[in-house]
Amino acid sequence: MPDNKKQAAHRALVDRILNGEGRSSAQQRARAFGNDGLPPPLNTLIGKVATRPTQVTEADFAAAKASGFSEDQLFELVICAAVGQSARLYEAGLTALAEATANGGAR
């Protein structure tokens, strides 16, 4: 089934960024992915990536760097935030589709 390949490729991406080797800890990456539980000022940058990415500024990165995060760590955590928010959209869409077709009838 084509969708299995698409969903498998998506799962492989999520699994890599959360569970593979990284410069940030797996816990930090999970928190960025979930947009939950990160300390200030990093939470501002990550929150914007997840919910209002056009409002991200140089100052958000500068503040996160000044609080001790390296560029490589921020590279990872921003990616985790973007992939995490998108994964929640995927889940919401697939759940709505499953509910809409729960009683059969759809092709």
């Binding site: 991200v56 140089e58 990616i79 998108s86």
Partner: protein
Amino acid sequence: MRLDILDHGYSPATKLLFALIRLFSGHPVPDAAKLAFYRPDFYGTRAKEFTHEAMRGPSAWSVGDRELMAAYVSKVNGSAFCTAAHTATARRAYQDGPMVTAVLADLESAPVEEPLRSTLRMLGKLTAEGKLSAEDMRQVLAVGASRQQVKDALAVCVAFNTTDRLADAFGFEVLSPEGFEAGAKYLLKRGYR
């Protein structure tokens, strides 16, 4: 870009590749491509695989339809780079610029078939609101989109909700119209791998 490593943190071999691309295409390597080359084991390799599958893998949606979905989702997100890139790619894929322009200007009055219009509307709502109801999906299915087409469209939506966020967070440089045209040609010839 907003991280120095994304402008300068590449191996000599990758820098040479960027120089060759610039030489032969006549355009700088787009930031979207550069991101995929930075520590590709962390993100680029798997992101390209997923995006290619969503955009070029088997589907009842045409390549033009999927590029239009990418442009539409990017427009809802307000992502200037991705909207321009995938508008150019959709126009070229369909060989119909006015139709693509019409969809992005006003989906409801645009000259497209109902399954595509309804699917775009659903993707826009999911992107803007972060949620959908079963009724939203029933409306898409009722006008003739198949369950598989909805799943395929969701994969496109997910790929571009990710890329849009990275484009705006990392600050991808918006290219010239010629640069976006060159990118569109490449994406139609080679895909996302």
